[in-house]
C-alpha cells in the first residue's frame, strides 16, 4: 500500500542526523514520563526514534490512502458559508475525522496534557507528508501549532483548559490580519476592552484573511491600550468558539488551497481571555507564533516540492514522443534533476532549521522547571540565534522552490499540464500562496538581512566548511564563499540604505544557496545512494547563480537605481 513516509526514504534519513541524540535527550528529560507511568512514553533513545518512525508511518498511510484520494474533491467543492458559519468541504470533514482517530493532534504538547511531545523535526515531517497529499488540508491540521504559543505564554489554568482540547483534535486559528494591517501588523485596530461587570475582555472589530477562521480556539491580536497607534498597544487574546460572539462574514475565493477556508470575521462583543502580559501581543507573542508558522510553511512547501517532482517524474517516464520516453531528453532530465536537487537541498535546510528550533526550545522548556547550567545557557543562546537566522531562509527558499517545481512539473506535462484533470495545475495554484503568507519572500529577506550584514551566515558557512570532510564538491564551494564575502563587504560599504535594500534579495539567495550546498554535500557523504546526484546538481546550480549574482552586486552603484525606480 502507498505510504508517503516509507515511499520517500529521504525523509527518514533526517531522523538519523547526529544532532538527534542531543535533541531527544533534551526533549525527553531523562525519559521521566515513562518513569511516571505514562504508557506511551519512550524509555530510551532507540525507543523514541522508533516512536517517531511509527507515527510517521501512520501519517504516511493516512495521507496516501485517505487525504490524497480526497484532495481533488476538496479542491472542487471547497468550504461554504451557512448562517454565518463556515462549513468544510465534505471530504475535509472526513480528513479531520481520520486524523483525529489516528491521534495526530497535540503533536508538540507535553504528555501531561495529553500530547505526543514530538519535536519540530517530526512535526515538520508530518507537515510535509500531509501537505504532499493535500496542501490545503495541511493548513487546517498544522494550525494546531498555535497551541505552542499558548503553552509558552499562557497561564497554567489556560494550559489545562485548552491544551487537552487541542490534543483531542479541536482546531485553531491565529487571527492577526485586518483590512488595513497585513504585513504591517502594528496597524491592528480590533478593539479589546475590559468588561468590569463580567470580569473578562471583550473584542470588537473585523479580521480578514484568517486561515481556518471558524476554528474552535482562536489566538487574537487586538488593541487593548486605548489611544495607542503602534505595536506596543497590542495584546494577545484567546477566543473560545463555545462562548460565541464571532461570525464568519465571508469566505474568500482563492487561486489555490481551496480546502483551507480563508475567512473574514466580525467580532461583536466577543468574550475573550488575555494570554500572557498586556502590550506584549505583537512584540513577543506574535513573533513566536510567526516563527512557528514560518517553519510550518517551509514544511508545507517541501511537501509540494516532492509531489510536483513525483508528478513530473511519473509523466516523463510514461510519455513518449519522437520515438522515445521524454525522460531521455536532456531538456527534460535537466528540469527533473533540478527539481530533485531543490527538493533535497530545501528539505535538508528545513530539518536543519527544525533541529535548531528544537534544541533551543527544549532548553527553554527545561528552564521553566530549573535553572540552566552556564553551558546549557550558552547552548540555548547559540541555537536560538541559529533558529532565528535559519527560519527566514528555510521559509523563503522552500516557498519559492515549491512554486518553481510546480511550474516545471507543468512544463514536463506539456499541454496536459494545462488541463484541469491533471494534478500539476493544482500544485501550481496551491504553491503560489506559500511565498506570500506568513511573510512574503521579500519580508523573509528583511528578516534575514541583519544576519547577512553582521556576518552570522558567513560564520555558519565557515563552521560548516571546517566540519565537512575534504571532497571535490567542498573545494568548489570554497571560492563561492569568498565571492560571497566580497559581495557582502561591497554592499556593507555602500552608504546608501536604498542600495542595501535593493541588493538584499541577491545576497539572500546567495546565502541560502551556499548553505544548502554545504548541507547537501554532507547529506551525500552520509547517504550517497540518496543524495549524491542532487549534491552534484545543486552545487553546479549554486556556482552558476552565485557567480552571476556576485557579478551583478559588485557592478552596482547608487546611480543605477534610477533605471529601476518605477516612479
Amino acid at each position: 500500500m502507498a505510504n508517503y513516509y516509507t515511499d520517500h526514504p529521504e525523509i527518514a534519513f533526517h531522523l538519523e542526523h547526529p544532532q538527534m541524540k542531543r535533541l531527544v535527550e533534551l526533549r525527553e528529560k531523562n525519559y521521566e514520563d515513562a518513569q511516571k507511568g505514562i504508557d506511551y512514553a519512550p524509555v530510551d533513545f532507540e525507543d523514541t526514534i522508533e516512536n517517531y518512525r511509527r507515527i510517521l508511518e501512520i501519517t504516511g498511510d493516512v495521507a496516501a490512502n485517505v487525504i490524497e484520494p480526497n484532495s481533488e474533491s476538496v479542491d472542487l467543492e471547497g468550504p461554504h458559508l451557512e448562517n454565518n458559519r463556515m462549513v468544510y468541504a465534505s471530504k475535509t470533514k472526513e480528513n479531520l475525522d481520520v486524523t483525529r482517530k489516528a491521534g495526530l493532534y497535540g503533536v508538540s504538547m507535553p504528555r501531561r496534557y495529553g500530547g505526543l511531545n514530538l519535536p519540530s523535526v517530526v512535526f515538520s515531517m508530518m507537515s510535509e507528508i500531509i501537505s504532499a497529499s493535500d496542501a490545503g488540508f495541511q493548513n487546517i491540521w498544522s494550525l494546531q501549532s498555535c497551541i505552542d504559543t499558548l503553552y509558552e505564554f499562557g497561564s497554567e489554568e489556560q494550559r489545562q483548559k485548552y491544551i487537552p482540547r487541542i490534543c483531542a483534535g479541536e482546531t485553531m486559528s491565529m487571527d492577526l490580519t485586518e483590512p488595513d494591517a497585513g504585513s504591517d501588523l502594528q496597524r491592528v485596530m480590533l478593539k479589546a476592552t475590559f468588561d468590569e461587570k463580567e470580569n473578562c475582555w471583550r473584542l470588537n472589530g473585523v479580521k480578514r484573511f484568517i486561515t481556518n477562521g471558524d476554528s474552535d480556539i482562536h489566538l487574537v491580536l487586538a488593541r487593548s491600550e486605548e489611544g495607542t497607534k503602534d505595536g506596543r498597544g497590542l495584546s494577545m487574546f484567546i477566543y473560545d468558539k463555545r462562548n460565541g460572539g464571532v461570525d464568519v462574514r465571508h469566505i474568500e475565493h482563492k487561486l489555490g488551497i481551496h480546502g483551507s477556508p480563508t475567512c473574514e470575521l466580525t467580532y461583536k462583543n466577543a468574550k475573550a481571555e488575555l494570554c500572557g502580559d498586556r502590550k506584549m501581543g505583537l512584540i513577543k507573542y506574535v513573533m513566536a507564533l510567526m516563527n512557528g508558522a514560518r517553519l510550518g510553511i517551509a514544511a508545507q512547501s517541501v511537501g509540494v516540492e516532492q509531489e510536483a517532482y513525483n508528478e513530473g517524474l511519473a509523466y516523463a517516464r510514461e510519455r513518449a514522443q519522437f520515438g522515445q520516453k521524454i525522460i531521455q531528453f536532456p531538456a527534460v532530465y535537466d528540469m527533473l534533476s533540478r527539481m530533485k536537487a531543490k527538493l533535497d537541498a530545501g528539505r535538508s535546510l528545513l530539518y536543519q532549521t527544525a533541529r535548531y528550533v528544537d534544541l533551543y526550545k527544549s532548553l527553554e522548556d527545561i528552564q521553566r522547571d530549573r535553572k540552566l547550567t552556564p553551558e546549557e545557557r550558552t547552548e540555548m543562546k547559540t541555537y536560538s540565534r541559529l533558529a532565528d537566522a535559519f527560519t527566514p531562509i528555510a521559509k523563503g527558499m522552500n516557498s519559492e522552490y515549491a512554486s518553481q517545481n510546480a511550474y516545471d512539473a507543468i512544463s514536463i506535462h506539456g499541454g496536459s499540464g494545462f488541463i484541469m484533470e491533471y494534478k500539476s495545475q493544482r500544485l501550481y495554484r496551491d504553491a503560489r500562496i506559500f511565498s506570500i503568507y506568513e511573510g512574503t519572500t521579500q519580508l523573509q529577506v528583511v528578516a534575514a538581512v541583519r544576519y547577512i550584514t553582521n556576518g552570522t551566515y558567513l560564520q555558519v558557512m565557515r563552521d560548516m566548511m571546517a566540519k565537512t570532510s575534504e571532497c571535490e564538491l567542498k573545494s568548489r564551494v570554497a571560492p563561492l564563499i569568498d565571492l560571497y564575502e566580497k559581495a557582502v563587504a561591497y554592499v556593507n560599504e555602500a552608504n546608501s540604505q536604498e542600495v542595501h535594500d535593493f541588493l538584499a534579495r541577491r545576497l539572500y539567495d546567495m546565502t541560502c544557496e551556499i548553505i544548502m550546498s554545504l548541507l547537501i554535500i554532507d547529506d551525500a557523504r552520509r547517504a550517497p545512494e540518496l543524495f549524491e546526484k542532487s549534491a552534484n546538481v545543486y552545487v553546479r546550480m549554486t556556482e552558476e547563480d552565485v557567480c552571476a549574482k556576485c557579478y551583478y552586486v559588485m557592478h552596482f552603484t547608487e546611480a543605477d537605481l534610477a533605471s529601476f525606480r518605477a516612479e
Binding site: N51, I55, I58, D61, V98, G103
Partner: protein
C-alpha cells in the same frame, strides 16, 4: 450495556497486488513473495466492533486469530486501533487446517474465552475466498448468525439491529445475542492506527515471538499488557484429531494454473437473434444462469 466482543481476524498474503512471483511453479500461493496483511474484511469487522464499544461503555473487544507466531501482528494491529486484548491460536497441530478444522479451533477458543456476546468476522478471507468459517463457527457454537452485514446499527436489550446486504438492496434485521456476524467489504473502512496506542503496544508479543527476539525483555516484565496470550490445542481443550491436517476433510485433487489469453473478438448487432445467441452462449459456458 457492556458487551464482550470477539473479532475473528486472519493474517493473509496480500493477493490484491500480485506480481509475477505470486504463484509457485506448482500452482500454489507463494506466501514468501506476498506481504502478510490483516484480511481486509476482518478490518471492516473490527471497525464495527469498535463502534459498538464506543456506543456501549464497558464493552471489551478482543481479537482471535489462528496462525504462525508472526500472526501476533494481527493482535497488535487490533490493539493499535482500539481493541482491548487478543488471543493467538498457534500450534503445529493447528497447521494445514481447512475451513472445518479452522472453525472447530475458533469455536473451541471462543468457548474457552467464555460469555461472549458477539462474534464478528469478515465475510471471507482474500486467500481462500470461501466465506465458510464465520457460519461454521456459529453452527458449532449453536449461535444465531447474520451474514453480509454492512452496519451493526445498535445493540440494545440483548438484541442487535443489523443492516445487511441482499440481492438488489439491503434489509435491516434484528437478532438476539449471543450472535455471530460476518461483515461485508462494503461496510465502513476501519479506522487508522492510533499514534498513542501504537507507542503503547509496539513491543507487545506472544511467547513464541519473544523466543525469536527478546530485545525488550525488561519492558515486557514491567508492562504485563505487552505479553500477548498464546494458546495451543491443549490450552483450549481441543481434540487434536479435529484440528489442522487431521481435522480437514478437504483434499486438493488438482491445481490448474490458468493463463488468460486474448481471443478474437466477436461483433454483435442489435438484432434479437444475435442477443439471444449471446445469452445462450453465456448460459452454455455457465457464465450466467
Amino acid at each position: 450495556m457492556s458487551l464482550k466482543i470477539v473479532v475473528l481476524a486472519k493474517q493473509v498474503p496480500d493477493t490484491r497486488n500480485v506480481g509475477k512471483d505470486a504463484m509457485t511453479a506448482e500452482g500454489t500461493v507463494n506466501r514468501a513473495a506476498l506481504p502478510a496483511i490483516f484480511n481486509p474484511e476482518d478490518l471492516n469487522a473490527l471497525e464495527q466492533a469498535l463502534r459498538i464499544k464506543e456506543q456501549n461503555p464497558g464493552t471489551t473487544v478482543g481479537l482471535l486469530t489462528m496462525g504462525p507466531p508472526r500472526a501476533g501482528e494481527i493482535i497488535r494491529e487490533g490493539l493499535y486501533r482500539g481493541a482491548d486484548t487478543g488471543w493467538l491460536l498457534t500450534d503445529r497441530l493447528f497447521a494445514g487446517a481447512d475451513t472445518l478444522a479452522t472453525s472447530y479451533a475458533l469455536a473451541t477458543a471462543i468457548k474457552k474465552i467464555g460469555n461472549v456476546d458477539l462474534v464478528i468476522g469478515g465475510r471471507q478471507a482474500i486467500d481462500g475466498d470461501t466465506a465458510q468459517v464465520g457460519p461454521q463457527v456459529a453452527q458449532k457454537l449453536g449461535l444465531n448468525q447474520v451474514t453480509y452485514a454492512e452496519e451493526i446499527l445498535k445493540v440494545e436489550n440483548g438484541k442487535a439491529t443489523i443492516r445487511r446486504m441482499i440481492d438488489g438492496g439491503v434489509e435491516v434485521v434484528e437478532a438476539p445475542l449471543p450472535l455471530v456476524v460476518t461483515v461485508n467489504g462494503s461496510a465502513a473502512e476501519c479506522r487508522p492506527q492510533n499514534a498513542k496506542l501504537v507507542m503503547k503496544y509496539k513491543y507487545a508479543a506472544c511467547p513464541l515471538e519473544v523466543a525469536e527476539d527478546d530485545s525488550r525483555k525488561g519492558l515486557r516484565a514491567e508492562r504485563q499488557y505487552l505479553n500477548l496470550t498464546q494458546w495451543s490445542v491443549a490450552d483450549v481443550d481441543g481434540d487434536p484429531s479435529q484440528c489442522g491436517m487431521s481435522g480437514s476433510p478437504t483434499k486438493v485433487k488438482e491445481v490448474q494454473s490458468i493463463a488468460f489469453q486474448a481471443k478474437e473478438s466477436k461483433t454483435l448487432t442489435a438484432k434479437d437473434e444475435d442477443i439471444n445467441g449471446l445469452i445462450q452462449e453465456l448460459l452454455n459456458d455457465k457464465i450466467i444462469g
